[in-house]
């Protein structure tokens, strides 16, 4: 199941003059995927990913303490991480895994 979300549209895109480098976009699209669902978010590069993780958990009725968010580089995402601090690129995916808990027997 794929669930695509869009951020509110802001001012129209500003086209750079010919020859000028494209400006760094303020927003980034991130896909968050667990085993059954994909949700797309558009957030500011400086926004803590806690907001995204909270929103995903709320939508999927997950308990935040029982899931782990991991970047494609295998790095666990913390509450204070932002797309900038994790050097994320537009279209990157955060994979969601269930916590690992064990006792056995």
């Amino acid at each position: 199941m794929s669930d695509r979300s869009h951020s509110p549209t802001g001012p129209g895109p500003q086209h750079p003059e010919a020859g000028e480098p494209a400006p760094v976009t303020e927003h980034i699209n991130i896909k968050v995927a667990d085993r059954d669902n994909e949700v797309f978010f558009k957030i500011k590069r400086s926004t803590p990913l806690k907001k995204l993780m909270d929103a995903f958990c709320q939508r999927q009725a997950l308990t935040p303490t029982q899931v782990r968010f991991i970047t494609s580089e295998g790095q666990k995402v913390t509450a204070v991480d932002t797309p900038d601090t994790l050097d994320m690129e537009d279209g990157d995916t955060l994979q969601v895994h269930q916590e690992q808990i064990g006792g056995s027997v």
Partner: protein, 236 residues
């Protein structure tokens, strides 16, 4: 289809600092539930095990603690090599996700020359052993591709180690094994007082003082293992 998610911060300022306290469920630090898991004889999760392993290994520069979540999502080869290729010993907590979820652990010595993996399992089972063998093979397929290093096969050994007496203590045994191995000692093959160790680990969680780890190390080295733990608990 669900509606859009607007994550734009409120105008006029960033997030409230109160949102970022140490109790945040997404923080890699711990929250009160972890202390309760230790105190109430409950199963341990990956976050608590990873936190305590980090505490134990803070001074062990030649060791690398492998993230148990790699079992679910292996990092890219370059990242894996950057994390582990230069280390002399790898400690790998292994999570077995089956009908009865379980923790065991692997210690891989000489990972760069002739890797030997020792598997410590407090509830020995052929399926645990097979899963651990597959996991360590997957890691070394990345660290040392066989097509490049055909002679560098991982030697795998199951070690006779102490066994848990209930259905909740496997994580405790992983941590106890880690402490002994980090101290250069053979992990206990019998007589692990898991309740006592739970109290020791709980005391370590309650303290941010890294000195306690060295106090614990000295206590274990000075006496027999069980007495050492009791000493350590006094210290903590």
């Amino acid at each position: 289809m669900k509606g859009p998610i607007d994550s734009t911060p409120e105008p006029g300022g960033g997030d409230n600092d109160d949102d970022r306290d140490a109790m945040d469920p997404f923080d890699l630090n711990l929250h009160p539930d972890h202390l309760n898991r230790l105190r109430n004889n409950e199963m341990l999760d990956d976050r608590l095990i990873a936190h305590l392993l980090r505490c134990f290994s803070v001074a062990a520069n030649s060791w690398a603690i492998v993230d148990s979540l790699h079992l679910l999502q292996m990092p890219p080869p370059d990242k894996l090599k950057a994390l582990y290729a230069s280390k002399e010993t790898l400690f790998i907590p292994v999570h077995h996700q089956n009908a009865a979820a379980h923790w065991s652990c692997l210690v891989v010595t000489n990972p760069n020359i002739s890797p030997v993996a020792h598997h410590y399992d407090s509830c020995p089972n052929p399926s645990h052993s097979a899963a651990a063998r597959d996991y360590v093979t997957d890691i070394f397929d990345v660290l040392q591709p066989r097509r490049l290093q055909p002679r560098r096969m991982v030697i795998f050994r199951d070690v006779n180690s102490a066994r848990q007496r209930n259905g909740v203590d496997c994580g405790i045994f992983v941590l106890v094994n880690a402490i002994y191995l980090l101290l250069g000692l053979q992990p206990p093959a019998t007589d692990v007082d898991s309740n006592l160790w739970r109290r020791v680990f709980a005391a370590m969680l309650c303290s941010k003082d890294q000195q306690h780890m060295s106090d614990l190390s000295e206590a274990i080295k000075r006496r027999s293992p069980v007495a050492g733990v009791q000493d350590a608990q006094q210290v903590l």
